[in-house]
């Protein structure tokens, strides 16, 4: 099997320094909607300038390069242990080159490992599939927005939220309100309905890999995504929490089977710097998107 370490370093560089085009377009559209001369417009202006500078100077969009989350699809016969070793090595190399900040801190001692590797760090999820290609999706999930992510259990009497999509709507709006500007609004929400506490959070983060303009194949969820996007923006929290018309840039919902006893709603808040990148390997050829 070929050594993909350098290709993984390139994937990390792209994710850290180049914001996906759909995110940048959404930020540009948001700026047009805000009042000229407002703090919201100023914030979006600075954000857009920063995106351009980062792309041309190959420097991180945000200094918090986050938890690198790798979703890896691979064909039968590929060694996932070998891929995991190469990914960990690539994280260390990317740290040395300044694409990643040393971000892995020992849970007990507080010591920074210095190279973005550690116990279950980076995060990797392997999925075998029927295709010949290896496909890797990377999300750099910052800490500020992770801290405002939330998990609710339905029913939630305080919000009058029952075990249905209306209940989901209520708790999601509550989460957006609680987050205020702390998750670096305008943000994207990845939402999971169902699962257990662990699987639900994983699923919610995986939703963040979806392009902003895709349509949920389940019509009820597609409708709820649109409604939450509109109503989230009606809260008026605005870019950075300065007040304004744009609080959210996207809402993506997925579902999992759950136990009859449990009804979890997990909300992964992602900052405007929704840094995702992907690569596909077929034989010797590596392509990035």
């Amino acid at each position: 099997m070929q050594d993909l370490t350098d290709a993984f370093v390139e994937l990390i560089r792209r994710a850290s320094t180049q914001l996906p085009a759909d995110m940048e377009q959404a930020l540009r559209r948001a700026k047009e909607k805000e009042e000229p001369g407002s703090a919201a417009t100023g914030a979006l202006d600075t954000i857009l300038q920063n995106i351009e500078m980062s792309r041309t100077s190959f420097t991180p969009i945000c200094q918090d390069t986050g938890t690198p989350i790798f979703e890896i699809r691979y064909p039968l016969g590929v060694s996932t242990r070998t891929l995991a070793d190469q990914i960990r090595k690539a994280c260390a190399m990317a740290t040395e080159r300044g694409y990643l900040r040393p971000n892995a801190v020992d849970g007990l001692t507080g010591k920074n490992s210095g190279d973005n590797t550690g116990v279950d760090f980076p995060t990797m999820h392997f999925h075998e599939w029927d295709e010949e290609a290896i496909e890797v999706h990377l999300l750099l999930k910052g800490g500020g927005c992770e801290n405002v992510s939330a998990q609710y259990e339905l029913p939630n009497p305080a919000l009058g939220a029952g075990r249905d999509l209306e209940g989901v709507r209520r708790v999601v709006l509550d989460a957006v309100h609680r987050a205020q500007g702390l998750g670096c609004a305008p943000g994207v929400l990845g939402i999971a309905v169902g699962g257990d506490r662990g699987s639900s959070y994983i699923k919610s983060k995986q939703q963040l890999l979806r392009p902003l303009d895709d349509t949920n194949p389940e019509p009820q969820l597609a409708a709820l995504e649109n409604r939450l996007l509109e109503e989230g923006n009606e809260l008026g929290i605005g870019p950075m929490g300065f007040g304004g018309k744009t609080t959210l840039l996207g809402v993506k919902i997925g579902t999992l089977h759950r136990l009859p006893a449990s009804f979890f709603v997990s909300i992964a808040y992602m900052c405007w710097a929704n840094r995702r990148a992907s690569m596909r390997v077929i034989g010797e050829e590596v392509t990035y998107a």
């Binding site: 920063n50 918090d64 920074n112 205020q180 500007g181 670096c184 009606e234 809260l235």
Partner: protein, 205 residues
């Protein structure tokens, strides 16, 4: 755009109001979670009598922070030929320093705290009582802000790790917005209140 130069006078601070854009120039220090806990434990709880091992850092911080600026930031740095530079240096979430910030403002005579997301009532009260402001930098604008960092003068407490160390930097025209002023006003409180009203409307829909 108001220009603030370190050391900043109390008069200049009292003249600032929520919503105003400012730019900061001069020598400032970064400091986040580990740094704030360290300052409280070693300098403030000891009544300004730190253990001998920490006296050099204390003397340096007293000079920098008198009329000075503390920036909540864990940068991406690079070292070439022994010289450090900032590659990416946006703000980190400030509210984690709420238990410490008021004491740090009072003890050192800090005039401005730069971060993101705003802070709570204790810090707001300290801003009013001691003449300080909270300046909101644009979260995630790391490359842009790093360009206003013209030099890294030195670094203290590197054992905390790169993000958590005190980086002493010289900045020019560092852009930010006043979101908590020295008159008891907080943009964050205002927005939280307004959006709570809207939330209740939406939930009742």
């Amino acid at each position: 755009m108001r220009k603030l130069t370190v050391p900043i006078s109390e008069e200049a601070i009292r003249d600032l109001h929520v919503g105003e854009p400012v730019s900061v120039s001069g020598v400032i220090t970064t400091g986040r979670d580990a740094a704030h806990k360290y300052m409280l434990d070693n300098f403030i709880k000891t009544g300004g009598q730190p253990p001998e091992s920490e006296q050099e850092v204390y003397a340096a911080l007293k000079e920098i922070l008198r009329g000075g600026v503390i920036y909540h930031c864990g940068p991406v740095v690079q070292q070439q030929n022994g010289v450090w530079s900032f590659v990416a240096a946006g703000p980190t979430t400030s509210i984690r320093e709420e238990p410490y910030q008021a004491a740090v403002i009072e003890h050192f005579g800090v005039r401005a705290v730069i971060g993101k997301g705003g802070m709570g009532p204790q810090t707001l009260r300290a801003c009013r009582d001691y003449g300080a402001v909270y300046l909101h930098a644009i979260g995630g604008a790391a490359t842009l802000i790093a360009r206003s960092v013209k030099a890294v003068l030195t670094v203290y407490k590197m054992e905390f790790g790169v993000p958590e160390a005190f980086w002493i930097i010289r900045v020019e025209d560092f852009p930010a917005v006043v979101t908590m002023d020295s008159h008891g006003n907080s943009l964050h409180e205002q927005i939280a209140g307004q959006s709570a009203v809207k939330l209740n409307e939406l939930i009742a829909r």
